[in-house]
Every structure is written in C-alpha cells, then in structure tokens.
Amino acid sequence: MPARPYIEYRDVHVVYSNGVKGLDGVSLQIQRGEFVFFVGETGAGKSTLLKLLSREEHHCEGEVRLDGQELSDFSEYNLHRLRRQMGVAPQDYDLLPNKTVWENVAYALRAVGRSRREVFDRVPKILLQVNVAHRADAFPSQLSGGEKQRVVIGRALINEPPLLLADEPTGNLDAAQSEEIMRLLADLNARGTTVLVASHDLPTMEKFSKRIVCLERGKIKEDLGG
C-alpha cells in the first residue's frame, strides 16, 4: 500500500441537525484507480459518505482527505476547485429544470471554463454514450426516470474527472441498461479514474467483482476487496 491513499476517511462522524447520525465513526482508505461499491440498507449512510467528498455535507468529527488535502480546508468560496476534481451523479438526479438535456450537460463543461467549441465537440458524444442523444432537446420534466438518470451520469462524465461519485446510478434502469452504465464506469476505471458507486444492485455488482464496502447504521460492517 502506498504511503498516501487517494481518499482517506479517518474516524468520521456526521450528525445531522436533528440529531440523526449520518455516519458514526467511519475509517476507510481508497487508493487512486480503485473501483468501490458502497452497499447497505436505506439510511445506512452511503449517500452521506459520498456527499462528504463533494462537500455537500460536512463532517463534524474526524478527517476526510482527498489527495492528501483535508476537505474542511475548502471554503464556500473555493469549493469549485474541489468539485472540478470530480464528477458527481447525485441520487435524486439533480438537473437544472430550465435547461434542456443538451444544455445541462453543456453547462457542466462551460462552468469549468471550457470553450463553446469543446461543448459542440464533447456533448453529442457523451449523450450518445449514455444513450439519450435522441432526447437532447427535452427538458428534465419531459424525461422518464431512467433517462434523467443517464443524463446525470453523462454530466458527471463530461469533464473526464479523475474521481467519479455515482449515487445509485442504476436505480431506475433495467438490468441490461444497468450493466451498460456499469461497463461505462468500469471502462473509465480501467483508464485510471477512481470510481465510487453507492448501489443496491447486487446482481450487477457481483458481475464486476470489485471492492465492496458494506455500511450499516453509519458504520462499516464489511470491506470486501474485489
């Protein structure tokens, strides 16, 4: 094991405003280039674990380090520096409601400073890749659940980030499409991207035989190397 892990949780506690324990002492190390599944019952803390990395949630105790840097060091002001190192596909597929599919994906490119040219170059490709090219001009409210989910994944991939956080990326997809998406993630992983996926989709996970971290009530129950 190298000296410095890419991602490190050290005795992390998260307590939500109403006293609910999101995480209750999690310690975990993830190396660059790993592919990790997080599993566990609803409310076990999978989303919380991922949200800590994108700093949508804050830990109140312990340390969360990405590439050696403690995440509490990122202020609201320079948060985008952190988030440009990762692609995020949230569980409740948050798309910009007043932008079309195309614009939603393009925004993620433009927001990080890419040019219009790059947008015209990259967006159609990624839409094809996640299989929603035919719905490019639809607004999110006009999409089916699975289509939204694929757009969110496309948006997370568009910047080819070194780290990918996908929260329940296949909840609304059938087995065939789940596998397709998972294969996409595995491909990215093979090219060096670190991929963290929260999922309930056991059959698909079994096919890929990657590392599986099992959470229960905010604690790590099992950590099965792939």
Binding site: R84, P90, R110
Partner: protein, 291 residues
C-alpha cells in the same frame, strides 16, 4: 475571455427567457416603483417652477420723497433692479396713480382734490425669501420717503411662500421615501426570483461552477430587470404626462407643464433601476443562499 463573457450573458438572458412569470413580475414591480419615483420627481419639478411663477406675481410698493426728478428716479430704479430677489421695477408717476385712484373711488373722494399721492415704485419680486431684505435696502435709499413705509401683502406672501416651500418639502421627502421604497420593492421582487431558483444555484455549484459563474448571471438578470423596469416607468410617465397636459388646459391660471424630458427620464430611471437591480440581486444572493 470574450467566450466567457458571452457564456455569462447568455446564461443571464436564458434564465430571463425561461422564467417568464417571474421576470414579468420582477420587471413590472421595478417599473411601477420607478414610475412612482419618477412621478414624484416630475411633480417636484412642476411644483417648483409653478411656485416660481407664483412668486413673480408678488410685488411691493415703495414711495419716493417729494420732488425727486425723473433722471434720479431712473437711477434709483436701476439700483433697486440690481438687488437680489428683485425681478422688475416700475415707476408709477403720481399723476397716473391719482387717475387710478379716481377710477377706484369714483364718487366724492377725488372730487376737486389736488393730487395728494407721491411718486412710487412697483417692485416685482423674483424670490419671496428675499422680500424682507429688499424692503430694508429700498427703505434705506436716500431718495425714499422714510415717513411713507413700503407696502406689501406680507401675510399673503408668507402664506404662499410657506405653502410653496412646504409642498416642495413634501414632494422632496416623498421622493426620498419613494427612493427607499422603490429599493425595497425591487429588492423583494428580485429576491423572490433568486430565491425561487436557489436549488439551481446549488446544482450549478455541484458541477464545478465558481461562485462568480453562478452569481454574475443573476446579477446581470437583476440589472436587466431594473433597466427594463426603468424603461417601463418611462413609458408610463410619458402616458401620464400626456393625460395630465390635457387636463391642465382647464386650469388656465396655472400655466403649462414643462415638456416631458423623455431622454433624461430614461437615463435617470433606467440608471436607478439598473443600480437597484444590481444591488438587489447582489444582496439577495447573499441572504437566501446561506439558508
């Protein structure tokens, strides 16, 4: 760089276009607030110029000593004319005054009498506030008759002058109040548009947009709302001015409205609107995003 600026602007314009309901509400609120503000300013200007025309109607009468000769009289008239607050000076020869007096009391008053009146000046004031100063200066002139004091309608003048300055003060403070009120109204409207899209700002941040990239479009949008509101206000004012002009023709004693300063109104109202919109969105971005 150009590409960045274009991106930010396109974002702002798109947001306006895709949130029609909110945009309409924000623009019409800004427009009405600025309309009221512009209206009160125009009322202020009109009151002021009307007040000025009023005070021109007030005059005093100063009596000369007996036997001052015409060349001397015109010299004194010139002196008085150069005093501050004096608009015009007329010499009223004693003969003319006596003739008028005869017409006024045609019965027995003037019957067979020798003209008892002195030569006099009619002094028209341009500034009522200077009335007392003018009175004293004139009275002190050696050619004036110290026994025959200056006459003027002091009480009436005071009433008119105080009314005028009160109305001006009223319009002025209403204007100041409206400036504040318009600010709050515009702030509310723009805060509502920002607030209704707070979730979007969160998503934008999530995909890596900097605070600048998220906020500047909102601020451009707010500024444009304010600017559009200013234009709307301008149009409303112009319409009001037109209908007011028609109405004013019935009030012959009041004179005409000054013409509507369309260009200036647009610049000022648009400017205030844009400034308010800018500030409102700027503040609005700080307040709800923390909640």
């Amino acid at each position: 760089m150009v590409d960045r600026i274009a991106f930010i602007f396109v974002e702002a314009l798109q947001a306006m276009r895709r949130n029609v309901t909110m945009s309409i509400a924000a623009i019409s609120t800004c427009g009405l607030a600025l309309f009221l503000l512009g209206g009160i300013s125009l009322v202020y200007v009109a009151l002021d110029s009307w007040g000025q025309s009023l005070s021109g109607k007030f005059e005093m009468r100063a009596y000369l000593k007996d036997g001052v000769k015409p060349p001397e009289i015109s010299k004194v008239a010139g002196e008085i004319r150069s005093m501050p607050g004096v608009k015009a000076v007329f010499w009223i020869p004693r003969d003319k005054a006596w003739e008028r007096e005869k017409v006024k009391y045609p019965k027995e008053v003037s019957q067979g009498l020798e003209n008892p009146l002195p030569d006099a000046f009619k002094i028209v004031l341009s500034d009522l506030n200077q009335a007392d100063a003018v009175e004293q200066s004139v009275q002190r002139l050696p050619q004036m008759d110290p026994q025959n004091p200056i006459q003027y309608l002091k009480a009436e003048q005071e009433l008119v002058e105080q009314s005028r300055s009160f109305l001006r003060w009223l319009a002025g403070s209403l204007g100041a109040l409206l400036l504040l009120t318009a600010g709050v109204l515009i702030y509310n409207a723009i805060r509502m548009t920002v607030f209704s899209r707070r979730k979007e700002a969160r998503i934008m941040r999530l995909v890596g947009a900097s605070l600048f990239t998220v906020r500047v479009p909102y601020m451009i949008e707010g500024t444009l709302h304010g600017l559009a509101g200013g234009a709307l206000a301008c149009f409303l004012l112009w319409a009001c001015q037109l209908s007011l002009q028609n109405r004013l023709e019935a009030f012959t004693a009041l004179g005409q409205l000054p013409p509507f300063p369309a260009g200036a109104a647009f610049l000022v109202l648009g400017g205030i609107g844009a400034l308010y919109g800018f500030l409102a969105s700027w503040i609005a971005l700080w307040v709800p995003m923390r909640s």
